[in-house]
Symmetry: C2
Subunit: 156 residues, 2 copies
């Protein structure tokens, strides 16, 4: 591998800026959510998915695909959320192996309380810094990279 093609100047600074933004933005949003609502970003994402279904109930593997998480991460996270009474687990009649994850009243309340402040933070720290063109480009860019990642995941 003596002939590595390194990143060019523009790629380098873009990558560095992206990494910096990524890490610090995630940390800051996490802090905001945690301190004002006692939720993590991960909790928030799970609750959003459950809230988006009519009966607040999903099979873990559906959640997994919607979130793009690893299976064991989801399982661990659900256990922690269950301990805090944000979600419950129920047996699944159709499939003896399976289960249902159910939004509890406390969970529903938690995300309803947290959402406005979180959206506000996302807007303030992120979208207020961008013009519409940049937002559109971000969408295209992220979608293209996601396709790459899907291909890589399929290859694994």
């Amino acid at each position: 591998m003596a002939d590595t093609r390194w990143l060019d100047e523009g790629q380098q600074r873009a990558w560095r800026a992206y990494l910096g933004m990524q890490g610090r933005l995630t940390a800051e949003l996490n802090r905001q959510l945690q301190s004002t609502s006692n939720l993590s970003l991960a909790d928030y994402d799970v609750l959003v998915q459950l809230t988006d279904t009519p009966d607040g109930r999903l099979r873990p593997f559906e959640l997994q695909r919607a979130l793009g998480w690893e299976q064991s991460r989801l399982s661990h996270h659900l256990s922690r959320m269950q301990r805090r009474d944000l979600v419950g687990r129920e047996e699944c009649g159709e499939d003896g192996r399976g289960a249902y994850v159910v939004l509890t009243d406390a969970g529903r309340q938690a995300i309803a309380d947290a959402a406005p402040g979180h959206v506000e933070a996302v807007r303030r720290l992120f979208f207020d810094a961008l013009d519409p063109d940049e937002v559109e480009t971000l969408y295209r860019l992220a979608s293209a990279v996601l396709d790459r990642l899907d291909a890589a995941a399929a290859r694994r």
Copy 2:
């Protein structure tokens, strides 16, 4: 907070795509680095910073600023890297409170071995999916958000 301004359509999908890309790209790069070089992305970043100095030696607070990390994260991480003999700690003459973090031979070797494969992965999963305009926009976008984050950090 009854009058929350939610995200518009374009912002929603951009945000979702960004979050998806962010999480999965980080996970994938971590996996690649871990499995081929037994290093984490965090290890890699620390080693890069140390390699960039003439004598492979930095004060922790300099590393902290360069990486944009929390102080305690860095301290914990350096302890773990020290246990694996990737870095060493030395006393600091000029300031009795301070210390030096020093790149070990093993650390220097580790990043030299890891760099080609990592850069290759970054290129394959990320830059190969983008055209130059998108890279340029990403840089502008990330820089703008970083400014926001600096402002938020200063306010804290």
